[in-house]
Structures are given as structure tokens and as C-alpha cells.
């Protein structure tokens, strides 16, 4: 049974002091229900996740106690992607034909606080100051720049594009364009990455309504079909966050594995994709994920970015809603924001940040600690 997305809802990302994370999730869920023209009592099952705003299944207190099975998902930055895959499989199995996926969060300011024990690491690892995801991203791009001649100016250009796209998206957090000079000269966080090259923890909520493909047209005139949905964890030898050591022989990371599996499942290739949302915890991640997802060869990013190909009007539009850099990262909601954006793009409803020429195929990719990745391929 094929699966379609028939309703979408979002609570604007950023800072909303007047609403809890849970309320932002409920706000998004109500919009998604309205978008699909269904009521909460029609929903047969739900998957959802939140990292620091309580259990996602507490949404039933806001939306109504209907007795539906609501399963909480916790998978770091891949929480949204994991919820979506779970819901996809539930419908594909034939067990259900209408479900909800929700993700929301509300984080404190500043870098995330990771606990070594939760990842099976010794306390010494945190005590000496290595329990920081930002260091991993900085070290990975540092090595990559050395191996493939990516310039510091290209790092800044990626952030510049994110802020431009954010300024065209009314639901983004950062809505002011920032120049390359200002980005490059902002406070150094982890060399070679400056403050404006990183995303920050933020707030927001996203919800999606999924149905079996054969019923999709009863809910919407513009169903978007899930052609591929995959999730992978790291294999031995891939270079990952929170690793006290790394094998001498390096293998492809979970992004490469999830991407290949998704393309195979969808029966399409990277050249067929019209718009893509790639995990951009910082600018280096976006650059490396372009190649890891198969959209270019390693090293080609320098020319592609310098010539503007990754902009909304370019040949491979990336993070058209401003990505994590302009939206911040509410962990539970972040992966679903990418899907929300792609559904808007495929429906032709993205307004000022709409990719021209009627995009037909869209791609999402998330990556998170301690080395997991999820990919979806959507088609209208």
C-alpha cells in the first residue's frame, strides 16, 4: 500500500514565550487536521517525538482523549524522520489508513548538554571537554576542506544563502539577511566555524497527516506521495560524533547508506530531485551532505556554491526554507520541518521561497548523534 501526506501544519520556529513546546505541537496538529479536512477523532494512530518538552503523547490532553494508540519516538536529531518512517510502515502494512506524525520542542539557549553516560562513554570524556557535537562538525569539515579544497569563503556563503532563504519564509526564526563578511567575522566557536555558521537550539512544532494512497484524494486535491523512507545507523569505521577513537580504515557514514537505500526504494536518482532539504547543523554539514547524498562529487561543492547553484533559483536548491541555520533546531520538530517544506514546494504553495518550474520530486535528509541518518523522497 502506497502512502501519501494529505495534511501539514507548522508552528512558527524561533522563540514563543507564551506557548509551551506541547502547545506548539498541538497548534501544528490542529492546522494539519484542518489542512486534511479531518477531525482528531478520525485519526487511527499517531507517532511523535520531543526531546525536552515532555512526552509527545501528552498531545492527547490538548487534542482530545479518543483512545488512539500514540507511540513516543526518541532518536535525537532523527526523531522526526524516525516518527515518519514508523507511520509510513504502519500504513504500508495495511493495518491503518489514517495517522498523525508530530514533533515539537522548546530548548534553552546555548549548546546542547550531552551526558556521556547515556552514550556508554566514560565521565572523563565530558570532564575534559570533548562532549560537544560542535567539535565533531568542526573537525569533520576541517578535514574535508583539507582533502577537497573547500574555502572559508564558501562556508560563509552557505550561511548567507540560509539567511536569505529564511528572510523569504514567514515561519523562519532568522528573518534578516546577513552578509558574508559579518558571518565570517562573527565570534569563532570551533575553528573554522563561526557563530553564524551554526544553528542554535530553538522552538517549534510540525505535524503531518498520512493516509493510504488509495484514499488520499478524499482528503486533498494535492496529495504528496512518500516514494522512499529509510533510516540507518553507523557502521564500523564511519567517522561519527562522540567517538573517543576512530578506525584507521574509514567507511561511508549512515547518510550515504540511508541515501542509497532511499533512491533504490524510490527507483529514482539524485539527478531527478528538484528540491532538497539537507541536515545543516552547521554550514560544513550542508556542504558534506551534498556529496554524501549523491548530489555531487566530493569537492564539486566549491564551484556549485560559489556560482549560486544551491540557491532557490539555482539548479539544486538546498534548504529552501532557511534550513536549521535560519530556523534553529527544535530536535523533535526539525526533521518534520524539512518534510513540511517539501510538501509546500511540491504543492506550489511556498510563496516567496517557492522553487520555480513546478518541482515534482523532493528529498529530505537528517543526521544526528551518535551516527544516525534518515532520508525521505517525496513525489507529487
Amino acid at each position: 500500500m502506497d502512502v501519501a501526506i494529505v495534511g501539514i501544519g507548522i508552528h512558527p520556529f524561533g522563540r514563543t514565550p507564551s506557548r509551551s513546546g506541547l502547545q506548539q505541537g498541538a497548534f501544528a496538529a490542529r492546522l494539519a487536521l484542518q489542512d486534511a479536512g479531518v477531525e482528531w477523532k478520525d485519526i487511527q494512530f499517531a507517532f511523535g517525538g520531543s526531546a525536552s518538552s515532555g512526552s509527545a503523547d501528552a498531545l492527547v490532553n490538548e487534542l482530545g482523549l479518543t483512545g488512539l494508540p500514540f507511540i513516543n519516538v526518541a532518536n535525537g536529531c532523527a526523531t522526526g524522520g524516525s516518527s515518519l518512517i514508523s507511520a509510513y510502515n504502519a500504513i504500508k502494512s495495511g493495518e491503518y489508513d489514517l495517522g498523525l506524525v508530530a514533533g515539537f520542542d522548546k530548548h534553552d539557549r546555548g549548546a546542547f548538554n550531552a551526558d556521556p553516560k547515556e552514550l556508554g562513554l566514560g565521565e572523563w570524556y565530558g570532564e575534559v571537554g570533548m562532549m560537544l557535537t560542535t567539535q565533531f562538525f568542526a573537525m569533520k569539515i576541517q578535514k574535508y576542506m583539507n582533502d577537497y579544497n573547500i574555502s572559508e569563503n564558501t562556508l560563509a556563503k552557505v550561511a548567507q544563502k540560509s539567511f536569505i532563504n529564511g528572510s523569504r519564509n514567514p515561519n523562519a526564526w532568522r528573518t534578516e539577511p546577513i552578509g558574508v563578511e559579518e558571518i565570517a567575522n562573527s565570534m569563532m566557536v570551533n575553528n573554522p566555524l563561526t557563530k553564524f555558521m551554526f544553528c542554535s537550539p530553538s522552538e517549534g512544532g510540525v505535524a503531518l497527516i498520512l493516509s493510504s494512497a488509495d484514499k488520499a484524494h478524499t482528503y486533498t486535491d494535492t496529495p504528496v506521495y512518500l516514494r522512499g523512507a529509510t533510516m540507518k545507523s553507523r557502521r564500523f569505521g564511519s567517522f561519527e560524533v562522540f567517538a573517543p577513537s576512530q578506525a584507521l580504515q574509514q567507511v561511508d557514514g549512515p547518510t550515504v547508506d540511508a541515501s542509497k537505500a532511499a533512491f533504490e526504494m524510490a527507483g529514482v536518482g539524485p539527478r531527478d530531485i528538484d528540491v532538497m532539504q539537507l541536515q545543516d547543523t552547521e554550514v560544513g554539514a550542508e556542504i558534506m551532505h551534498m556529496a554524501e547524498n549523491g548530489f555531487c562529487e566530493h569537492g564539486e561543492q566549491e564551484a556549485l556554491i560559489q556560482s549560486g547553484e544551491t540557491r532557490i533559483e539555482g539548479s539544486m536548491p538546498i534548504n529552501t526554507d532557511g534550513g536549521c541555520i535560519a530556523n534553529g533546531e527544535p530536535i523533535g520538530a526539525s526533521g518534520l520541518r524539512q518534510v513540511y517544506e517539501n510538501v509546500l514546494q511540491l504543492r506550489g504553495q511556498a510563496g516567496d521561497h517557492q522553487v520555480p518550474d513546478d518541482p515534482k520530486l523532493a528529498y529530505t535528509h537528517v543526521y544526528g548523534a551518535p551516527g544516525i541518518s534518515a532520508v525521505t523522497i517525496l513525489q507529487r
Binding site: 549548546a111 548538554n113 565530558g126 575534559v128 571537554g129 573537525m139 570551533n190 569505521g237 584507521l248
Partner: protein, 141 residues
Amino acid sequence: MSNQVPIAEGLFTWPSKNPALLGSRCQDCGIATFPVSESCSACSGQNVVVEELPGHGTLWTWTIQQFMPKTPYKSGETPETFEPYGVGYVELPGGVRVEGRLTENDPAKLAIGMNMEVVFEPYRTEENGDEVISFFFRPAA
């Protein structure tokens, strides 16, 4: 003379005249890992033996931590006394790439591929006066 204690048991030989990082090597597939693990994450086997890792290697990648991390960071520093520090992976020949703090925090003095050596130095002082020893990588000739 203050008492010197290692930051964690089993991470490196201590006390020792020639201290060394301790890894484990799988006897079935030959893969080494740091710190010591009871199983091999390459082949899932449990036939592993503890060994001393080489003390010299080359810098594989690096960064500088420019802001003071929140807990669980425990260096004895305050926001006023905090000094940025280097972090990197050092490739130890025949062994594994080990992540560690660097003694150098000037980006101009660090480059991928440079020679590095492991050193064991005081990291912080406990309330009871004990000096906590940790490992660092230092640029070498």
C-alpha cells in the same frame, strides 16, 4: 608533594615511568580501539586483549574549543579563567585514531599531518588536593 590520580582507571598506565594509552585489540580481526572495550565493534567478537598504544602519531584533524563548555566539563576553570583549548584526532600507526585534547590552542601552529606525541599532565586539582592527570597530544619534532 601532592597525590597524582588518573582521570579514569584503565585509560592509560599510571603510575608508570613510561605511561602509555591503553587500547584493546581484537585477536580475530586485528582491529584496535580506544578506550579498552570488552568486545570488538568491527566483528562483534569478544576475543580482545589490552595493549599499550604507540606514543607518537600524526594529526588527522583538529579544532579549537573557543567557549567554555557547560557541565559535564570539569576543569576547575571559571568563565573568567577559561582558556580556549585544542581538540584533535591523532593517528597512531598500526593502532587507531585517538581523540584528545591538544596542548596547543593557536590555530596558526596546528596543521593536518603534523607529528604529535602523547603526554600525561595535571588537568585539574581536586578539593582534597589530589592532582588529576589526563592525556594530551603535543606537537612533536
